[in-house]
Amino acid sequence: MHKVLIVGEHDGKALNPSTAKCVTCAVAIPDADITIVLLGNDTSKVATQAAALAGVKFVVRVDRPENAHPLAAIFAPQVAALAAEYTHILGPSTSFGKDLLPRVAALLGVAQVSDLMAVEAAYRFRRPIYAGNAIVTVEADASRKLIATVRVASFQAAASGGTGSIESKALAVTLPTHTRYVGAKSGSTDRPDLQTAARVVSGGRALGSAENFKLLFSLADKIGAAVGASRAAVDAGYAPNEMQVGQTGKIISPELYIAIGISGAIQHLTGIKDARTIVAINKDGEAPIFEVADLGLVGDLFQIVPELTRLIGA
């Protein structure tokens, strides 16, 4: 039997969907016994959500005031302290998991498999390298603990209907005081979360200004989509960093991706190639985005996008 520990991501109110995707990955490990650990100030609410994920056997709550914010230097020694009885420790390949898991791996003196995209056997996995331009199959030593971050775009979220049991644990771990949370700034939005949205409308440098992104917001709101941006658009200041889709931004797998005024640099395509349907609108018919688009339309986005928004409403 393989005992898998998943480090759950949450904000105290809701479990991040990345956790349910890690569960699906864990289920693919042969004969897996799955536990989710939640660290926080008060994880009562999210523990209930975690226990309801199909396939989850146990949920371990580690509540203490120092865990109010997910600081890797604070969380890592606690995860490491729990590690002894598990064969595998997984976390999402999100900014939360990517920050935390390597610190856990180093404390345990083991390697990490980053961006795990497929499980071939209990200690054999596939992962992308070179911005997704090559896929490697890696094998880890079965006698050691396996630490991995899970590429969330590669896995569907686990269904609900689970009946895991919840237990609180007090860990006798001395935590460092050298790292302190100061604050966060996020463009609060009523639109769906970019990372997990079924539909995404994205804009590139051709939008020309932050003001013009409103065109995309109108279309997105009409179809209930999240809004993303290319790195070029973010670098130009048209959109905030959390909207960036691509190798160094978010890697997403929506049902529908509409790329508007995005040429399709390789690092952008890396972020969207798991999308079910890609639609591209660009004035340059030679743009690389058309090589991967299921539906392409060459033309002026400033005419096409308002018209498309109008037609969809009709």
């Binding site: 890797a72 890592a76 999100t94 900014s95 939360f96 990517k98 920050d99 390597p102 610190r103 791996a105 180093a106 003196g109 083991v110 390697a111 990490q112 498999v113 980053s114 961006d115 992308p128 390298i129 070179y130 997704g132 331009n133 090559a134 896929i135 490697v136 199959t137 890696v138 094998e139 880890a140 030593d141 460092p176 050298h178 790292t179 100061v182 604050g183 966060a184 700034k185 463009g187 790195r231 960093n241 959390e242 190798q247 049902e255 529908l256 390789i266 890609i278 058309f290 991967v292 688009a293 299921d294 539906l295 392409g296 339309l297 033309g299 005419q303 096409i304 498309l308 037609l311 969809i312």
Partner: protein
């Protein structure tokens, strides 16, 4: 603050379109242009800017790799690093090995700050900085888009999935940098000449007491699955109808 250590990796230049070897044993690296990992270049630029603001700081560029990695360290010296150290090895270096090696150098050099890229663009592991911070038992601030140093502390704005987060860490600390922290300077010819006179020490994993044993085995390397090119539509009416008919909107 007296010393900043910047960790640099030699990687395939980001403009090169890599190709997988037909036998699946890896990617083709023969005759391919190599450069400083772009994120590490941003880390070095930041170190130089901190030095230029405060003065009296030594910037030490360090790397692990084949003998030719001296080229990338010379570039780092030309950008403005004061001296460089190469830990020369022909073995593949996993992130944990890199972290152990940088730890050994940190113990020798006692820097106040270690800067490096958030990930290398070859293995995309995104691990070394975090592992180094853990082994060094010091704070980490990953994905930095703004760094302010004052009174033995660093205030770091981090690019996270939800937006921007600010944390404060005591120095010494490890900071890994993201794309939007700065734009690295161009190297000028006189600087390249000057860099030839700067110190570049070469040492080895053995000398530092670090094992080169690897924990992961790469069994196979394949090209990614390709998406099929789709169809072009003639106008926005056709596009809207197709999206509706396919049940996509």
């Amino acid at each position: 603050m007296q010393k900043i250590m910047v960790c640099i990796k030699r990687v395939v230049d980001y403009n090169v379109r890599i190709r997988v070897k037909p036998d699946g044993s890896g990617v083709m690296l023969d005759g391919v242009k190599m450069s400083i990992n772009p994120f590490d270049e941003i880390a070095l630029e930041e170190a130089l800017r901190i030095k230029e603001r405060s003065g009296g700081i030594e910037v030490v560029a360090v790397s692990i790799g084949v003998a030719d990695t001296q080229q990338q360290l010379r570039t780092a010296l030309a950008m403005g690093a004061d001296r460089a150290i190469l830990v020369q090895t022909d073995s593949p270096v996993e992130p944990l090995t890199a972290a152990r090696t940088f730890l050994a150098l940190a113990k020798k050099e006692s820097p106040d700050l270690i800067l490096l890229g958030k990930q290398a663009i070859d293995d995309d592991a995104n691990q070394t900085g975090q592992m180094l911070a853990a082994l060094w038992e010091r704070p980490q601030a990953t994905y930095a888009s703004k760094i302010e140093i004052a009174a033995g502390k660093a205030s770091v704005t981090r690019e996270v999935d939800a937006g921007l987060e600010t944390i404060e860490v005591d120095l010494p600390a490890v900071i890994t940098v993201d794309l939007r922290l700065n734009e690295p300077r161009y190297v000028k010819l006189p600087d390249i000449m000057k860099a030839k006179k700067k110190t570049l020490d070469v040492t080895s994993l053995d000398a530092l007491g670090v094992s080169s044993a690897t924990l992961l085995k790469t069994v196979k390397t394949e090209p990614p699955a390709q998406r099929q090119k789709g169809v072009m539509v003639k106008d926005v009416v056709e596009l809207a109808n197709l999206l509706k008919n396919k049940g996509l909107i």
